[in-house]
Symmetry: C2
Subunit: 219 residues, 2 copies
């Protein structure tokens, strides 16, 4: 979509992911239009998209609120993501192009570099991690699968706590990526799917650890 609508989408999404708009907060189209400096029309567009991303929920009377994720919701989302990303890996294993395989290696090298230093470079880790998974999704060659998965990867809670991942988890993630590349190299669909399922599942527990640690600290 074009400028104003995209801007509104990115703007509102950013406010939700950063926590500036807390879960449960009501979103008025007019108020958002003022903050985005566009009219209500593109804001409405953006809200619809965010609703389909499950970042926003709508009341019976069509009023919009920032979605609040319960612990069960989050577990649920990870479970689905694990299934779908495993399926993506399964399909990608037999379809991935040499150039894509090389790109995977490239991004994982950069992930390795990002976590090697004294302090891990979390933004770089997240960026190359995202790119890595995106290449696999592209290699899977299923627009439907891609469409479903993109609805699950935007988890505000996860983004806010990614900072808390410990070194050990980052290192393991890097290693699992290497195993994925090996599975793709062998064109072994079953292996790739297994690794991916475990990879996401472990990411869930890493998140849980980071999150409960944060909650405990807050008490």
């Amino acid at each position: 979509m074009s400028r104003a609508s995209d801007h509104a989408y990115a703007f509102i999404r950013g406010m939700i992911l950063s926590g500036e708009l807390p879960p449960g907060a009501q979103l008025s189209e007019e108020a958002l239009a003022l903050r985005c400096e566009v009219s209500r029309t593109p804001v409405r567009d953006a809200l619809r998209r965010l609703e389909s991303d499950l970042l926003i929920r709508r009341s019976e009377s069509q009023r919009s609120f920032v979605a609040d994720w319960s612990d069960d919701d989050i577990e649920d989302a990870f479970e689905l993501r694990s299934m779908l990303e495993a399926q993506a890996a399964r399909r990608a294993a037999t379809r991935i192009a040499p150039a894509q395989l090389e790109a995977l290696r490239h991004h994982n090298r950069l992930i390795g570099a990002a976590i090697a230093g004294e302090r891990a470079d979390i933004p770089a880790f997240l960026e190359h991690n995202r790119a890595f998974h995106e290449i696999i999704l592209a290699a899977a060659g299923s627009s439907r699968l891609a469409s479903l998965l993109t609805r699950l990867i935007e988890q505000p809670v996860v983004w806010r706590t990614a900072q808390n991942y410990d070194r050990e988890n980052l290192r393991r993630s890097h290693h699992e990526h290497e195993e994925l590349v090996a599975a793709f190299d062998r064109r072994d669909a079953g292996w790739a799917a297994s690794i991916m399922a475990g990879h996401i599942r472990r990411a869930y527990y890493a998140y849980l650890d980071a999150y409960t640690a944060q909650r405990t600290a807050a008490e």
Copy 2:
């Protein structure tokens, strides 16, 4: 959403599912607005929803076209549906309420009745089949899973060829539903998931048979 927007959505969706708007046809907001007798605003809304249902695809320049499903697309959609409905059954097995279980039995009895006569009552079969699967999805208690699955169950091609399903397939479908009810009765998540995965997979082959028969007949 309210009247005009809902009306436009149902209207355009109907035209796509019935084949009145054939795959690949361009959809102009203004032309649709005239046919729906509403303004462009609710039509735009409806188009966005249909796009997220994957019934419409948009060109790079944001023009809308009726989605055309290749054979691979359809196989892909069934594969995903099989995975996700199996997951729904897995979750439902341990969460389903007695009233929901009874409702499943009720709808499957009506399915049995619909296919018992001289000529099968296909609309009744489709309706109770839909209700049956919907109850399972509700019992699974995952809004995310529900949101993902509803994007896959609206397959125009399938709707148009459902008429061609033969008696044997309908009978088997009815029987598999009975097995699902038995699995739910035992609260056996693994069993329920297995049956459901097979159930959808067989539906795919039933579709294939009906579709290729239709195509062969057309030649």
